[in-house]
């Protein structure tokens, strides 16, 4: 289990952020000096619908303890409809993961616009807190990558 120097669990959280909204939201959070945990690793994607289910599973394979996907609010997609597809896909995928007995709190989708720096920071803080509570992801791990 990855630990910090105080012996506390430090999770790895992967945040897929849409280039047009949520990534800019992260920027805004940064420039507004709103703190969110360093455990959150941002991966910029052109649109939330670029994230296919294998990205999410791969993240868990390579050691993520939580995966969050952030995109434009429905209706605001830079490509008009991308996030509507994301919404269906992820709803079904998360439902399946839950069905397989994987803790549902480890995955999340949030809509965060470029103006919502505060929401970005709050969401990440909340999500990270949840993952801290859950501890290490044991149900979707690849032992070879440990």
């Amino acid at each position: 289990m990855p630990m910090n120097e105080n012996g506390e669990f430090t999770p790895l959280i992967v945040a897929f952020c849409c280039n047009w909204c949520s990534y800019a939201g992260a920027d805004l959070a940064g420039s507004g000096r709103l703190a969110y945990p360093a455990e959150v690793k941002i991966i910029r994607v052109p649109c939330s619908c670029r994230v296919n289910p294998t990205f999410i599973l791969r993240a868990f394979q390579k050691g993520a303890d939580g995966v969050i996907l952030a995109g434009c609010h429905p209706g605001d997609c830079h490509y008009s409809t991308g996030n509507y597809y994301t919404r269906r896909r992820m709803t079904l995928l998360f439902s399946m993961l839950e069905y397989l007995g994987i803790e549902k709190e480890r995955t999340r989708v949030e809509w965060i616009s470029a103006a919502e720096g505060a929401k970005f920071a709050a969401t990440m803080n909340d999500f990270a807190a949840k993952i801290h509570e859950l501890g290490e992801c044991k149900r979707l791990e690849d032992l070879r990558c440990k």
Binding site: K62, G63, R144, C145
Partner: protein
């Protein structure tokens, strides 16, 4: 020969497992496979064959070979520590036991495969005679006797007793630790049991498989048979038959990127897969016909040619039972030879 009352079988398993890890056929979610013995695990005494064959013990589906770390232009080889502790497999059928000698032909011929060899040395095989051979069985077509299985120790499970016959030094050594529960007896007691098995085995519908055409016909002629154009049509191109087959031994060597290191592992491969022979410039086996032909030519013609006439099939009947579309080696062998 020694014997033990049937109601004391779990005692025997307990003892064996205390000597070294014991594996035996057990049911898991509706499918019978070899499982590690522990309290509460029931020996699937009625199951004739496990879904996967016993080859897993010596040639597992996946095994790590080495790992590498790349830093800049440098490569570091991290050897894989494959400890091979002794183990015992109980309940191997005569067909699977015969498959080990076919695998030996491949893996123990020069240059020897050390991973296979080490596992072979570590494992003690206890075979069990087949009291009730099933329709899909045709081991007798390859001279295998289901009433007289090979292995380090042979076991017969009759009504009321387990009979135990060590056949090799490894088997003798194991038996020495069990003399207190296995009482000596003379071998005559299993004779009628064996006779019953033989009577049934002779009536099995596939047991009369005749491979004389395959033996006596030129490789090129069989290869060019027009039957291949038709017979493969139902084949899905999945790897089921190869993965459940006790004699299929083709493998792939692959890399897995673990992040810091790259792990090199060996895994089963199937000649039925389209990428089996694919190279950068194309695939010499373009359609399922060629792949299908390769599998059966290999088992029934190429392997015997390279191994003194030994056919690479033991008649376990797994492909007969498992093929989703009802294709199998008997069908192929018979149709190609127009039998």
């Amino acid at each position: 020969m020694r014997k033990l009352s049937s109601d004391r079988m779990s005692e025997l398993f307990e003892r064996l497992d205390s000597l070294c890890p014991l594996y035996l056929p057990g049911e898991k979610d509706g499918a019978v496979s070899f499982v590690r013995y522990e309290q509460g695990v029931d020996y699937a005494v009625g199951a004739l064959n496990t879904v996967r064959s016993a080859k897993d013990f010596f040639f597992p589906q996946v095994e790590n070979i080495a790992a590498f770390r790349m830093t800049g232009k440098k490569i570091e080889i991290l050897e894989n520590q494959n400890g091979n502790e002794p183990f015992v497999v109980f309940g191997v059928r005569a067909c699977d036991a015969a498959s080990f000698s076919l695998l030996d032909q491949v893996f123990l011929s020069e240059p020897v495969d050390p991973y296979y060899r080490d596992r072979r040395e570590a494992g003690t095989v206890i075979t069990v005679a087949c009291g009730e051979p099933d329709t899909s069985c045709f081991c007798t077509a390859f001279g295998i006797d289901p009433a007289e299985p090979k292995g380090d120790i042979s076991v017969w499970l009759t009504d009321g007793f387990l009979y135990w016959q060590p056949r090799t030094d490894k088997g003798e050594n194991l038996t020495e630790n069990l003399t207190d529960i296995l009482e000596e007896c003379d071998g005559g007691e299993i004779k009628s049991y064996q006779d019953t098995i033989k009577t049934i085995a002779n009536q099995l519908p596939l047991a009369n498989l005749n491979l004389s055409y395959w033996e006596n016909t030129d490789e090129k002629e069989i290869f060019a048979s027009p039957v291949w154009d038709e017979i493969y049509k139902g084949c899905l191109g999945c790897g089921l038959c190869t993965f459940v087959c006790p004699t299929c031994q083709c493998y792939d060597v692959r890399d897995f990127d673990c992040g810091e290191t790259v792990r090199k592992f060996r895994c089963w491969d199937s000649c039925m897969y389209s990428d089996f022979t694919r190279m950068a410039h194309g695939n010499p086996r373009k359609t399922q016909k060629e792949r299908f032909r390769q599998r059966f030519m290999h088992k029934l013609k190429y392997f015997p040619e390279n191994n003194g006439g030994l056919v690479s099939c033991v008649g376990c009947g797994r492909c007969v039972r498992s093929c989703p579309q009802g294709l199998n080696i008997v069908k192929t062998a018979r149709r190609v030879s127009d039998d």
